[in-house]
Structures are given as C-alpha cells and as structure tokens.
C-alpha cells in the first residue's frame, strides 16, 4: 500500500432524506434555510471587508460548512454550552451572539463581543454560553471536558458541544480529553468537522485511519460519522444523540463529513486541492440541497428568494453599524488582565 488512508468521496458522503416533510418540519427548515443563507452571506461580506482592509490578521471562513453549524445548533437548547476553535464566526452567531457584535469584534470596535480584545479567532459570550473561539488547535477540547465536569458536579442536565477540526484529532491534549470524558462520563458532544484539510495538508497524509470517528471508539467514546452537507441529516442525527446524552450522560463523538469551499484562511488560495474536488462537493451544497427539498414539498420559489433579499438587506445594515461603531478605546487595554488584586490596580 502506498497510501496510508483514503478520503471519502462526495458520493460516499451523501446521505438520503425522504422527500416528505411534515408541516412542522417545513416551518423549521424554512428557518434553518434562512439561517444557513445568513451564514453564507455573512462570511462572504466578511471576506470582502477583509480585502477592503477593514481588518487584518487571520480570518477563517466557514463557507461550505453551514449545515453542520445550523443543524447542530438546532438540536440544542439554549442552556447547552458551545465551545469551538478559530473557524467560529457562524457558530458564535448560531449560539446567539448578535451578528453585528461578531462583525464589530473583527473590526476592532468597542461594540465587539470582546471589546476588540479577541478578534476573528476568539469570539466569546458568557451570557450566551459560547465559551470561545480558541486559536490553538485542539486547545479548546480540554476546556470542554471541564465545562462538562461542572455540569456533572452540579448535577445539571445540559450538554457541551465542542467543535474541532479533523486535523485537531492528532493533537495530544485532544486525546487526553477524550480519555477523561470517557472515564468520568462527561457529557460532551465532540463534533469533528472533517473538511479534509489541516490548513493545506490533506488529512490522508497525516492520519492513517479513514474514519476519524473510529479513534474515539478506541477511548471508549461512542462515535459515528454523518453527512455534514445535508442539514436535515445533521439535525436528525444530532438530535437523536443529544436526546440519548441527556439520559445516559456519556460523551459522544460525531464526525461531520463536510467541505471547506475557501482556503484555510482568507490568504490561502487552496491550490493544493485536486481538480474537481470542490465542484464535486458543491454538488452537495447544503443550501441548494435544502432549497431543492423545500421546493419539492411545495414551498414557493418566491418565498425563498424573499429570504435572499432580506438577508442581503439585513447584512448591509449590520455592516453599516459595525463600520459606524467607535474603535475599542486604547484607555481600556489594561482592563481585564486580572481580576483586581489589592494594591495592584490596573495601570
């Protein structure tokens, strides 16, 4: 064998959903459609703002992976916790941080969700239980088990969703955390967003097994994969697992098979991808799939087009607000380093 492992083709990723939807489902998926549309357009606006020089630094877009974010969030309740890595603008919004605060944070504004101290990779909201936005690959995963430790300690029944990328699975502390989640029955739903590349390196060059989720099984953590391009699959599969987790209180690892349409960050042209791979996955585009499903059950095309127009208008307003906001004040740079210690006031 020359190859250590093989990646799943788009064909293998594709799941089947029934043509039928109940009225409740139609209502629900119309909302999900609108949300995914918002995520897609938000990230496109962010990219343009970046190229216009409105902000700098690293900026990782989530375009192509909207179904994972929208589907998983729809399976949770408000009090559940979410923690993620650095490709998390849309996850922060999905968890309830107003999009204008997320954009303002990137622009270094006082109205940013972290007052300009976190940036694109480090969005936080204590109130919304979005525990970051973390810039070190895999670093958020031990934090997630700590959050779940608190849930058990206080005998609560929330769960923690911890997003990580496919390449994070080779980071030692991720494996340490999986083991501890298993031995202490910590209710963390690990969502591995397998978008096939750790920055520019094909996952098959760094990981000997084809199915990442199988690694969790080696730690005694139940695991499966799912079609991360179909939001109906994501929502149904996640909801079933979440329901089970609230009862058995055990961790679970779900490998979401997805695809990143853009480069690792906005400065990456993604030339390392084999020809046709992007197009192959765009055939499974989460927005197109759901739109087709909704049209098939009788939703009017005009109604969906109205969403497109509404999102466009909404985002224009958001960007204007973010643009207009005051810059984060320099006078506050010494704030928030430590909780004050007597005799050592902030400078």
């Amino acid at each position: 064998m020359t190859k250590k492992s093989a990646k799943l083709s788009a064909k293998e990723v594709k799941s089947k959903q029934t043509a039928k939807m109940t009225a409740t489902e139609v209502k629900r998926y119309l909302k999900v459609y609108r949300q995914m549309l918002f995520f897609r357009r938000f990230e496109e606006r962010v990219h343009i703002a970046y190229t216009q020089g409105k902000f700098s630094g690293f900026c990782h877009l989530h375009i192509g992976q909207e179904a994972v974010c929208a589907g998983v969030q729809a399976a949770l309740r408000d009090s559940d916790y979410v923690i993620s890595a650095y490709r998390s603008h849309t996850q922060a919004i999905a968890k309830g941080i107003p999009a204008v605060q997320v954009m303002a944070e990137m622009f270094g504004k006082a109205t940013g969700c972290c007052r300009g101290k976190g940036g694109s990779m480090h969005m936080f909201s204590a109130e919304r239980r979005f525990f970051g936005g973390h810039g070190i690959v895999g670093g958020q995963v031990p934090l997630a088990i700590g959050m779940a430790f608190k849930i058990n300690y206080r005998q609560e029944d929330d769960i923690v969703v911890c997003y990580l990328g496919d390449a994070a699975i080779n980071q030692g502390q991720v494996l340490e955390a999986l083991n501890m989640a298993a031995i202490w029955d910590l209710p963390v739903l690990f969502i591995v967003e397998n978008n096939r590349y750790g920055m520019g390196t094909d996952i098959k060059r760094t990981t000997a097994i084809k199915h990442i989720y199988q690694r969790a099984q080696g730690f005694g953590v139940a695991a499966a994969d799912m079609d991360g391009m179909n939001v109906r699959t994501v929502l149904k599969q996640t909801a079933a697992i979440v329901k089970r987790m609230r009862q058995d209180k055990k961790p679970y690892l779900l490998e979401a098979l997805t695809y990143r349409y853009r480069g690792h960050s906005v400065s990456d042209p993604a030339n390392y991808r084999p020809e046709g791979e992007l197009q192959e996955f765009q055939q499974l585009d989460p927005l197109i799939q759901l739109r087709d499903d909704l049209l098939a059950v009788g939703v009017e095309a005009e109604q969906l087009q109205a969403d497109v127009d509404a999102v466009k208008t909404e985002l224009r307003v958001i960007e204007k607000q973010a643009d207009a906001a005051e810059l984060a004040p320099v006078a506050a740079i010494y704030e928030d380093v430590l909780v004050a210690i007597d005799g050592h006031e902030e400078h």
Binding site: K117, S125, I145, Q173, A177, L338, I341
Partner: protein, 334 residues
C-alpha cells in the same frame, strides 16, 4: 504581619492540607483533582485523608494527562467551579504550559472580561535532591512572565496556609509553588483562621545594612547565611510571597532604607525573577543605591544528577555570605 499568640507547630504539608480542607468545607464549589491525590493520599501526602472527608466527587484521581486536566480545570473554572489542580511536580506541569499560557492566562482578557478563571494550579517546584535535570526545574521565571497569571511561592508553614487560602478565594488563575524538600519543614501556624493577601510581600527580619530578597528554599539559605554573618551585619530579609504581581513598593521602601540589595534565587539568573527585581530597583532607587544590585543564583546549567555536582550548581550559604560581604564592601575596608 504578626503571628497571633495561639499557634501550633505544623509542617508545610499539613498547612497546605488545612488550607484546602478549610476552604472545601466552606465552599462546595471547590474540588481537588490531580495524579494520585485521592486513593494514594497524594504523591507527597499533602492530600492525605481528603478523599475520606470529601469523597470521590471532590477529590479526584486523574490520569497522567497534565495538559488535559489543567484544561479541565480552566473549563470548570470558566463555568463557575473553583478547581484546585495538583501537579505532582511542576516539571510535569510543563506539559500543561499550553493550557496555562494560552488559555488560563488569556481567556479573561480575550473575552473582554466576560470570564474569570478562579483556578489554583499547585505543586512542588525547584530542585529536590539527585533527581536529574528533568525533575529539577524552577518555573517561576517562565510563568511570572505571562500577563494574566498570579504566581505565588511558599516558604514556611505560616505563609503556605495563609497564601493557599487566599489563592483559592482569588478569582484569577494562581500558579502556586511548593517544594518536595520543604513539605516536612515545621513552623508556627495560628490556630485562628487567617489569610495572607496575594500581591504583598513580608519582611521576615528587619535590618539596616542591606536588603536580601529570597523565597522558597532560598529563604532558608539566606537565614542560615545571616546566622553565619552574625551580629556584624544587619540584614533586612524580605519574602516576596507573590512573585506576580510583585510587591515592588515593599522592596523599594526597604532599599531606600538599606541602600543595598541582594536577590537569592534557585533558578539560573538569566531573565529570571532576580533580573526583574534588579531592573525595577535601579529604575526606582538609582540614587539611593550604594552598590550594584547583587544576585546569587544557580549556574546556567541543566541541574546535574550527582550529589556533589548538584551542590556545585545551586546557590550555597557560602555564596550568599560572600555576596553580602561584597555588597557591603566588607573585605575592602581597612
């Protein structure tokens, strides 16, 4: 800081245990987690009996995964608990530096003050005896460098108890440094409850000729050196207790009185705490100094194994005595 009259002589090990137990009785959100802390009663028996009193929910044996369980402590602290994480030694705690530096120290700042991390990471630091280089390190220079951390060093049973109680109640991540070699050291500890404030140092002995700053095992070394020097020299000995944030005011006041300063530390001198103290004192007391700030520290080496080599590497009483004599120009005065 005077010790009340009602006091009992106990070891540092016992002082630390009393601090944890008293705080855990007071606050149900506090738990202890680390390698061998529960069923084995602690690698150095600091947590002896705690499993029995508090149960397996609050005294938790961890797998050998320092980065992972340091991160667990950070996440639990962000979510509202007050973890005490024991590092069997800080040499192993180096495995957790990513979690400590990239997460514990930064989550509050990066979130614009939305989160706090009330976490104590404690364990033995520095050189014990004949353990070789990987088990003989001093982490205070590394971690005192990082904005967002508090660094505390234990020197006596009295400060061990008062500082640990304060560290547990503090809302910041506190790096708490003990020593394998000092767990058995005994001293008077008040029977009544007390806390020692973080960020404040202590004058261990008042004097007029020179100020000597030392913490941990080096404080004992300095006290022995003071005995050797006898009544000829009046040393003002300061235990900074908290290394970050440092009680610079206390040091400045002392140097303005004595006009001379010696820092004795167990780490190599380069970019270590003594270098920082020397810089701050020359910035604030330049006109008051009657001699250059002096340092006694370890040689710039990985600490060797063999007893005589190890001793040759670390600061000695003789070196401290010589440094004080030099500082006071005692051997050049006719």
């Amino acid at each position: 800081m005077t010790v009340p009259t009602q006091a009992t002589k106990i070891s540092i090990r016992e002082a630390l245990r009393q601090a944890m137990c008293e705080e855990m009785r007071r606050d149900a959100d506090i738990f202890l987690l680390g390698e061998e802390v529960a069923e084995y009663d602690g690698a150095y028996k600091v947590s002896k009996g705690m499993l029995k009193e508090f149960g397996a929910r609050r005294v938790v044996d961890a797998p050998i995964s320092e980065a992972g369980f340091a991160g667990l402590g950070i996440g639990a602290a962000m979510a509202g608990l007050r973890p005490i994480i024991e590092m069997m030694t800080w040499n192993f705690g180096i495995q957790a530096f990513d979690q400590i530096i990239n997460h514990a120290a930064k989550v509050r700042y990066m979130s614009g003050g939305q989160f706090k991390v009330p976490l104590v990471l404690r364990g033995p630091n520095g050189v014990a005896h004949m353990l070789g280089a990987t088990h003989s390190q001093y982490i205070e220079p590394f971690l005192a460098h990082v904005p967002g951390l508090v660094v505390v060093a234990v020197s006596t049973p009295y400060d061990a108890k008062g500082l640990l109680k304060a560290a547990i109640r503090d809302d910041n991540p506190v790096i708490f440094l003990e020593s394998e070699f000092m767990y058995g050291d005994t001293g008077e500890v008040p029977d009544a409850e007390y806390l020692l404030p973080l960020g404040k140092g202590m004058v261990v002995r008042e004097g007029t000729d020179a100020t000597v700053v030392a913490w941990g095992k080096m404080l004992k070394l300095v006290l022995r050196a003071a005995d050797v020097l006898g009544d000829d020299v009046s040393l003002e000995i300061i235990n900074p207790m908290t290394l970050q944030p440092l009680d610079t005011q206390l040091l400045v006041a002392s140097v303005n009185k004595t006009h001379r300063l010696l820092v004795v530390e167990e780490a190599p001198a380069f970019a270590a705490i003594g270098a920082e103290i020397a810089a701050q004192i020359q910035e604030r007391c330049f006109d008051e100094l009657d001699a250059p700030v002096a340092r006694v520290s370890a040689k710039h080496l990985p600490v060797p194994y063999a007893d005589h080599l190890e001793r040759a590497t670390l600061p000695s009483v003789e070196e401290v005595v010589a440094a004080v004599r030099q500082l006071l120009y005692m051997d050049t005065q006719a």
